[in-house]
């Protein structure tokens, strides 16, 4: 019987590859820079390996698509915080990839303890890549009123202007300090963990992997008390929303396009260059602050007035508006660069060539639709009457899901070559997306920002009209 093991990409990849090697498995195509999602284990045809984003692994093991998986404990706890499932069994701490989950505030906020935040009069804004653990934390701490903002990354850059607290994973409190953050509570100590599907443990023989994937035990537990806090900084309360205009710029794939665009538009932003950008680049424009966050998170942040303007893609704007139709965020300027198509993709082996074929396809179970764009995928399936269907949210490496773990993928593509390389084919184009400037439709209520917003808008418009797109 085939045994299926889900392996992590990213930070845990090298250590996990070493672990497999030490355990006597000769695995090819599982190393930094490899584009394959299906590493091969030579000499062991009974072992099926697939590479996922860590966050997806806990889910894949829980639903039984994989017998075993390796991911950090924080992602397992994030799943279990919301979905009290007994399907995931935490087998063993693998001892590497250690980090802790902290509730942090900005050092400049002046609030050095959780008790101080509990007495805060306004609703507390908490940002996190771990929204379920953030909610559990807020309930356990009996915060009277709070708002959880799920983000795709860069949670530490939000406090104090755009959130009061962030729940973030970091390897040491020293690193938090370097980011201008102070921990007010520690939630969890985490490291790479071997997890199993309970049903697989009961029915299948996984003993070879279970016996060999061991590097010694390490205690992992919820941290009861917050770590010592260096409260020597000067208490200085920062206003939630100042009069300066806050601009969000994207990291990731869009960054190089945006750098070129801003340069040609004549907007000088220091520290936002090719390579690793600072989270808080500087600008000599008076009354304008800039932060670098994930483009996925921008519509929600602009809607909530945490940022006034942001450069994202129409794909993420649509994904947000499909979920929250009355959200006060809108496209204020089409920038035009970074063009991609949002497409529906299936395996080349599937005998369908259109969405219509997909609808007519006979099947015994619900159609599995995977995507990072959960709301766009939901609308696609709904509008095209693909019911019954199940949505599978993904956090990257989405092509890996087809065909074993999903039937359809809603994905973006520039040229289609990556899709073709993974033995997939496009059956539908949902829409075209490109970079855009988004703003809050209620921004006019803040007259002190009006002129500066108008200036930025005009500058960017001139940049577009002059044809200065990359």
């Amino acid at each position: 019987m085939q045994v299926k093991l889900a392996l992590p990409k990213g930070q845990l990849q090298d250590s996990t590859a070493d672990l497999l090697k030490e355990a006597g498995f000769t695995v090819s195509d599982y190393c930094d820079g490899s584009r394959s999602y299906r590493p091969q284990c030579s000499g062991d045809s009974g072992l099926f390996l697939k590479v996922f984003h860590e966050k997806d692994i806990a889910i894949q093991v829980a639903i039984g698509n994989y017998d075993l998986g390796i991911c950090r404990l924080d992602w397992v706890e994030e799943l279990l915080a919301k979905y009290h499932s007994e399907a995931v069994v935490k087998i063993r701490d693998l001892g590497y990839g250690k980090r802790s989950l902290y509730a942090v505030a900005a050092r400049s906020s002046g609030y050095s303890s959780l008790e101080a935040w509990k007495n805060h009069n306004d609703s507390l804004r908490i940002v996190s890549e771990y929204p379920n653990l953030a909610e559990t934390f807020a309930l356990k701490q009996r915060l009277r009123r709070f708002q959880i903002f799920p983000v795709w990354g860069s949670a530490g850059v939000y406090p104090p202007e755009n959130a009061e607290l962030a729940i973030i994973a970091e390897t040491s409190s020293r690193k938090l300090k370097e980011q201008g953050l102070v921990p007010v509570a520690a939630l969890l100590e985490s490291s790479a963990y071997l997890v199993a599907n309970r049903d697989s443990l009961e029915r299948k023989n996984l003993s070879r992997l279970l016996a060999s994937l061991s590097t010694g035990e390490a205690a992992v537990s919820y941290v009861k008390e917050p770590p010592a806090i260096d409260a020597s900084f000067e208490a200085q309360h920062t206003a939630r929303r100042g009069s300066s205009v806050s601009l969000a710029l994207p990291d990731g794939h869009q960054q190089r396009h945006v750098v070129a665009f801003l340069d040609r538009a004549g907007l000088k932003i220091e520290g936002y260059n090719a390579g690793k950008a600072s989270n808080r680049p500087r600008t000599d424009l008076k009354g304008v602050t800039v932060k670098v966050i994930r483009p996925q998170d921008m519509p929600l942040q602009v809607a909530n007035g945490n940022f006034d303007l942001a450069i994202t893609g129409t794909d993420w704007l649509r994904d947000h508006l499909y979920r929250f139709p009355s959200s006060p965020v809108d496209e204020v300027l089409v920038l035009g660069f970074g063009k991609v198509r949002i497409v529906a993709v299936v395996s080349k082996d599937l005998h369908v060539s259109s969405t219509d074929d997909l609808r007519k396809m006979k099947r015994d179970s619900a159609l599995r639709v995977a995507s990072e764009y959960v709301n766009i995928a939901d609308k696609y399936a709904h509008d095209n009457h693909l019911a019954p269907y199940k949505l599978i949210p993904t956090w990257g490496a989405s092509e890996a899901f087809l065909p074993e773990d999903a039937d359809v993928l809603i994905e973006n593509t520039e040229t289609g070559s990556t899709i073709a390389k993974h033995n997939l084919k496009i059956i539908d184009t949902l829409f075209e997306s490109s970079a855009c400037l988004i703003g809050n439709t209620e921004a006019k209520r803040w007259p002190e920002k009006k002129d500066r917003i108008a200036y930025l808008l005009e500058t960017m418009r001139r940049g577009v009209e002059a044809g200065c797109v990359s």
Partner: protein, 410 residues
């Protein structure tokens, strides 16, 4: 593809609905008779209504159905109502704060996640809330109302068990546990797991022993309350106000001839309870319960007003209720086009007289009906009594109704 019911939900079939409506009707009737006015709160409420400290415990909040609404871009979560009292308190603060006393009753569904899916995640309750007024007399009024409603459903005997939230909380505060531990223990006691008290290691071991002793004692008289005072108050004088309140209620209940048992292991309830806790039991099953919650109204933004309430669990009452006898049914057949109009008129008269008048559309098992009426234009009414096989011919609906009434009275 067959689409199943959602896990943890149940369908109410016709026989279930007959029981449900009977319970609802009896409960409403009782409440209206006591001066309680019916309300219904929305099934959706903001989460923060329930996160205010002291309203629902983290354990209960961890099981609420919370989600972002279509306009939830601000991160403001809404929940499917997990409790009836807190929304009723909100409704009171919004609309009736100027009244010196408000009496509300409701029949509503509550939602809480339950992991196995074997128990229902949607639970219907009959609730009553008394906001303002005198404390002990108010509690006794609510207990009397609940017992009356249960009695109307034929549930006898019903055991009334009493405990006191203020007394339990005062004991726990005296133990010197950490805030988090104290809240956790209280949560478990109120969830029906008083066993947690056996492992307590606070700064006051004598008090821990006394607390275990309290949970091991049972009594059914005002004298028992005085005995508790004698045993515990020397080491914890702060218990006096709670014992005074418990004594007053015990005296009132004894004076009214109610049987009751003071039993702290029955002290199940909500974290917002501050005083008396009462539970109603029959054949070992908890049919409902309630308690005093004097701090809740201020917590949801109202004035400092005392309040108390209870809920009866419809699922439990339904499982104990016998089948509700159906109304007598008559099957009508229009044998030709001319018979249709008079049969419609007759059906209306039968319904007005309290019968179920059902038309034969060709698929009904006639054996389900004692009475079958055949109508043919110009030929009067033919009545078939299927229990005897007799056929009779009547010239008018009045004659027919008279015959049916006579048969019903036999």
């Amino acid at each position: 593809m067959k689409v199943p019911r959602c896990k943890g939900t149940r369908d109410l079939l016709p026989q279930d609905m007959a029981k449900f409506r009977r319970i609802e009707a009896e409960f409403r009737d009782c409440c209206l008779g006591w001066g309680y006015q019916e309300i219904r709160t929305p099934v959706l409420e903001y989460l923060h209504l329930f996160t205010s400290a002291g309203t629902l415990s983290p354990e209960m909040l961890g099981r609420v159905y919370s989600f972002l609404d279509w306009d939830g871009w601000s991160g403001e979560r809404v929940v499917l109502r997990p409790d009836g009292t807190i929304p009723a308190a909100r409704l009171y603060v919004e609309n009736f704060q100027n009244l010196p006393i408000a009496r509300f009753c409701y029949v509503e569904n509550m939602f809480a996640f339950e992991g196995t899916g074997k128990e229902s995640r949607e639970r219907w309750q009959c609730g009553a809330e008394l906001i303002g007024g005198s404390k002990a007399e108010g509690d006794v009024e609510l207990i009397s109302l609940a017992l009356e409603a249960i009695a109307k459903l034929g549930k006898k005997p019903v055991e009334l068990r009493l405990a006191h939230a203020g007394l339990i909380k005062t004991f726990l505060e005296g133990l010197g546990l950490s805030g988090e531990k104290e809240a956790d223990v209280l949560d478990q006691v109120f969830s029906g797991s008083p066993g947690v008290l056996g492992d307590l290691k606070g700064g006051n071991p004598e008090l821990a022993k006394n607390l275990q002793l309290l949970f091991g004692l049972k009594g059914n008289s005002p004298g028992f309350v005085e005995n508790l005072r004698g045993v515990f108050c020397s080491s914890l004088p702060a218990l006096e106000p709670s014992l005074d309140e418990l004594a007053r209620i015990a005296n009132l209940l004894t004076g009214l001839g109610f049987n009751y048992q003071i039993d702290f292991t029955s002290g199940r309830g909500f974290e917002y309870y501050t005083g008396i806790i009462f539970g109603f039991y029959s054949a070992g099953r908890r049919l409902g319960g309630g308690g005093r919650y004097d701090e809740l109204i201020p917590l949801v933004g109202g004035k400092d007003v005392c309040a108390s309430g209870f809920a009866l669990y419809i699922d439990e009452l339904m499982s104990l209720l016998k089948e509700v006898p159906p109304r007598e049914r008559v099957l009508l057949r229009a044998k030709d086009a001319a018979g249709l109009k008079p049969s419609l008129a007759l059906a209306r008269q039968l319904r007005d007289a309290g019968y179920v008048a059902e038309f034969d559309l060709g698929y009904r098992e006639t054996a389900d009906f004692r009475w079958v009426v055949n109508m043919r234009g110009g030929e009067g009414i033919e009545l078939l009594d299927q229990s005897s096989g007799k056929k009779r011919r009547k010239t008018s609906p009045a004659e027919l109704l008279k015959l049916l009434e006579e048969a019903r009275c036999k």
